[in-house]
């Protein structure tokens, strides 16, 4: 059933126990990313290692199971990658979610669980919100 496709076990797990989610009150509201259709928001903080890789990404915000789990899994998968690699990944992820790409989420680890979201165009925005935020931050 489509519904269980949407809310796979792993999504619910990340939604209930988000990784790298911390209070980021020190970040100004101007840097919050919001989804204008629903009011969900996300903030990010990125620590870089000396060689310019993303050492740790933390997030904060208020979102549904789809956006929270997407943020949580994102922070895990980008860890240790270079800025360029991550920017490429983001572009690719967003296109796949919008159903505008030939590729699949096969190379995205656990994030493959979000493939069920593609069928729900209004939820795609939930899934991509943290990725847009990271893109803006890195760009």
């Amino acid at each position: 059933m489509a519904f269980d496709d949407l809310y796979q076990e792993i999504i619910l797990d990340h939604a209930k126990h988000p990784r790298n989610k911390e209070n980021l009150d020190f970040i100004s509201d101007d840097e919050v990313h919001e989804n204008p259709t629903c009011g969900d928001s996300v903030k990010l903080a990125v620590d870089f290692s000396q060689d310019g890789k993303l050492e740790r990404v933390r997030f904060d915000g208020d979102g549904c199971a789809i956006s929270t789990s997407s943020a949580s899994m994102m922070t895990e998968i980008v860890e240790g990658k270079s800025k360029e690699e991550v920017l490429k990944m983001i572009k690719s992820f967003i296109l796949i979610m919008r159903n505008e790409s030939e590729s699949s989420l096969d190379d995205f680890g656990d994030l493959i669980a979000l493939e069920g979201v593609i069928k729900y165009p209004l939820r795609v925005k939930c899934a991509t919100l943290p990725w847009h935020a990271l893109e803006d931050l890195l760009a």
Binding site: C38, G39, D40, C64
Partner: protein
């Protein structure tokens, strides 16, 4: 009781539902083989349309379509009569003194923008506009735009945690600088029915005009603009069982007369020269370009439909249903309902301790239950209550107790699903 309920036109709720084609249609969900019944609990966003409305608009295009006012042919006469006839119906519907006090716009939003841009054009930095913290974005953002352009100040009547206006602050907030008061009649998140009579009478005692956002009240109660004595009243056809693309602005003649035009173009002019133009009479001064004649004809049919049901019986039935829903919903564990606990409209915003409103709405959708989730275009009120998103179920006279029972059952199931899913 409810099963036996009979509306003023002699119809039961079941028969009323048959007037609405979409309530007879099955819903096909994504990846779901068997179409299921629709349980429509999102009337506050947009109402469903009775067949007569759909047919009136279709008939217009099949038999009567022409541009209006300027044609001297039979079709043009017919179309003009339909369009202006709907204006008469709206006049009677809200008991306006003059037919030319009724202006057709696109929606409530445009009606309010018209007032902000035309009536507000003369405002300056010394002027204040008094709004409330529970306004829909439609009655907030136009004033913010005006404030940017003219320097006028916005002030707000605060809301309580229970979603009610703190009207004891009114005397202090109304000053001799207040140029306009804008208030939502019924809140689209809390279901609060605001005491606009009190606000209007206090404002008028200081000669301050009052605009009422009637988007949520006009579908659920009889409006008498002369009795209310409001200066502007804005509402939308699509929330009133009529077609989309039609809004209404009622304004008192003496204010509308003085206001400069809003948009320029055909139909709103008296005479045009390259060096300048003069304006047509009310209401046409504010209706530039080809209007949505088909939509206005459909809205006329919606008014006829409502009048046949009668607000007396609509209100009685909806109040009963609202009370039933309030009791049923407040009995659910882990659910918080917003808004007043006493007299209120059938608009229930709620949150669940264990799952986000989006996920709640998505879960309910699986069973054909249409509720809304998000900020409901009222972010300032949400911020004040420190909630970023709520789910909302809203009722109309075509809803039933058993739909509410089904909603309650599935809200409970949603909580279980998200807790056990792990």
């Amino acid at each position: 009781m409810v099963a036996e309920w009979i509306f003023a036109n002699g119809k039961s709720v079941g028969e009323i539902r048959e007037d609405f084609p979409i309530l007879q249609t099955k819903l096909t969900l994504v990846d779901h083989d068997d179409p299921i019944d629709l349980v429509y609990l999102d009337t506050a966003a947009t109402a469903q349309k009775p067949l007569k409305v759909i047919q009136a608009e279709a008939r217009y295009y099949r038999e009567q379509n022409a541009n209006i006012h300027r044609a001297l042919h039979t079709l043009g006469e017919t179309a003009t009569a339909l369009y202006e006839g709907s204006r008469d119906k709206v006049q009677a519907f809200i008991n306006a003194e003059h037919r030319h006090e009724i202006i057709f716009t696109r929606n409530t939003t445009e009606s309010i923008n018209l007032v902000a841009s035309s009536f507000g054009r003369s405002f300056g930095p010394e002027d204040e506009i008094l709004l409330t913290e529970m306004e829909h974005h439609s009655n907030l953002v136009p004033w913010q735009l005006l404030s940017e352009q003219t320097g006028c100040k916005l002030k707000f009547i605060p809301i309580s945690p229970g979603g009610e206006l703190e009207l004891e602050k009114l005397d202090e907030l109304l000053t001799n600088k207040t140029a306009l008061v804008g208030v939502v009649h019924i809140s689209n998140i809390f279901g609060t029915v605001n005491d606009i009579e009190q606000i209007i009478s206090k404002a008028h005692s200081m000669d301050i005009p009052v605009l009422i956002d009637g988007a949520q009240s006009s579908p659920h109660m009889a409006i008498d603009v002369q009795q209310l004595d409001c200066d502007f009243f804005a509402f939308s056809s699509h929330k009133l069982y009529g077609p989309m693309g039609i809004g209404i602005l009622y304004g008192k003649e003496k204010l509308l007369e003085k206001m400069p035009p809003y948009m320029g173009g055909g139909d709103m002019i008296r005479s045009v020269k390259l060096t300048g133009s003069t304006w047509n009479d009310l209401p046409w001064k504010f209706e530039a370009g080809t209007p949505n004649v088909g939509g206005v004809a459909g809205f006329g049919a919606a008014i006829d439909y409502i009048k046949e049901l009668s607000f007396d019986s609509i209100c009685e039935y909806e109040n009963m249903l609202t009370e039933y829903a309030r009791k049923s919903l407040s009995g659910i564990k882990n659910i918080k309902i917003y808004g007043p606990s006493g007299h209120r409209a059938g608009v229930f915003s709620f949150t669940h301790n264990d799952l986000h409103p989006h996920d709640m709405a998505q879960f309910l959708d699986r069973y054909g239950i249409a509720v809304r989730a998000g900020h409901h275009c009222a972010q300032p009120a949400m911020r004040k209550l420190k909630v970023s998103s709520m789910a909302r179920a809203s009722l109309a006279f075509y809803n039933t107790r058993s739909e509410i029972d089904f909603l309650v059952e599935k809200i409970i199931a949603a909580g279980e699903y998200f807790n056990n899913g792990i």
